[in-house]
Amino acid sequence: MSDLLEQNLRDIFSERATQIDPAASARLRGIDYRPRRRRRPALPALGALGVSATAAAVVAVATLASSAAPAFAGWSPTPTRPAAGQLAAAEQACSANRGTPVLTDTRGPYTASIYADATSSHLCLEGGSLSIASSNSGASQSDVPPGQIQLAGSGMKNSAGQALTLVDGRIGAGVTSVTIDRSDGSSIQATVSGGWYLAWWPGTAHATTADVTTTTGTATEHFPSAPQGPPPAGCPTGSHCSSGYSFGSARPGSTQNTMGSSRSQ
């Protein structure tokens, strides 16, 4: 009986091993697993690029490769389901090792993750040529009134003209969904999870309002104005360089606008 069982077991394993989708192997072969070298720019320069809803950036590392074209291919204005392996790849690229993210936002091949505890947060945005990481200390959920959200955002642009804008923050109790209206008239659906919301998009259109939905209805909140004009100087063409700004407040009602630029090479 035992020999028969063992033979059945071998047959089952062999049969099952042939059922693997060949595309999975191709996908795994196509990944670059080699460790990335990350250059850490001076803290004051990229301080403005932290998780935007918080007051003090502790560490920020941003890479927006200038050679990628077209910029942000596959990005989606509504969150998408992650592809197989996408979340693990993002977690690995983020080198987070911070447990489970409180929020994961996937838009095509791009994955944004927020790791947070009561007083600090860490944001990663990975995919394609994009790699952004920042750590911050900031407001706790109890700071945000029920039914409201922290209104804050940040933007960055590299020397090749690729730009992105990101809004995120903690949400008050009862918030079930958030839609961001932009200065170009279009809307972006934010991901809401774990006491946070997040949305980002290619380009420099800034967030104007947020439609915040709770079980009792939808209210509109207005973002503070983003800095106007061209991005900060100091980013020569051809260098791996990023510049950015942030807007918003650690607590609803107050406003903080900062701008900065950084050169990583």
């Binding site: 077991l9 693997i20 999975a24």
Partner: protein
């Protein structure tokens, strides 16, 4: 750094299918298997300058893979449920009375339900045909632990196998 990684691509090309099969049979889920192999290869890549000097880099990669599969199985299962709730009726399929007549199907289901560590031992012993000592090296445990995990896994499968060979009327 580039020189240290010159042969890493060859390692991936040569062993990714083996790792994928091992992950699939251990985790029993194709999407999870792909995640596991990806995570495993990222870990191997980080340590490649040292791993490439080992006698058996593939055994080292298998060890990482199976540790990932067995150590994180519960957490991944929880996350997967959150991200991808099972379709309606999925639970009912596992108790399909027609499937219950088929020993093969029951063995497959019993394999799926085995603790990951026991299933990993069976995969190494009966799919990769490793000895208990070789399997122990991959699993990072003693040959005795491999023997015991294999024995417990087989015992559970034998129960299912014996049961399904009995006349259907005696099963109720």
């Amino acid at each position: 750094m580039a020189r240290a990684y010159a042969d890493f691509d060859q390692f991936v090309a040569a062993h990714v299918d083996d790792l994928l099969r091992t992950a699939y049979l251990t985790a029993w889920d194709e999407a999870e298997a792909e995640d596991l192999v990806q995570e495993c290869l990222f870990k191997v890549a980080r340590r490649w300058p040292r791993v490439r000097l080992m006698d058996q880099p593939r055994a080292y990669a298998r060890r990482i893979l199976i540790n990932l599969a067995t150590d994180g199985a519960r957490e991944r299962a929880r996350r997967r449920v959150e991200l991808d709730p099972p379709p309606p009726g999925a639970a009912e399929r596992s108790v399909d009375p027609l499937a219950a007549l088929d020993t093969h199907v029951e063995l497959v289901e019993a394999l799926r339900l085995l603790p990951p560590r026991q299933r990993a031992a069976l995969v190494l012993r009966y799919f990769h045909d490793l000895t208990e000592s070789q399997a122990a090296e991959v699993l990072g445990c003693s040959p005795g632990t491999v023997k015991s995990n294999t024995s417990r896994g087989l015992a559970r499968l034998r129960e299912v196998s014996d049961l399904s060979l009995q006349p259907r009327s005696t099963k109720t």
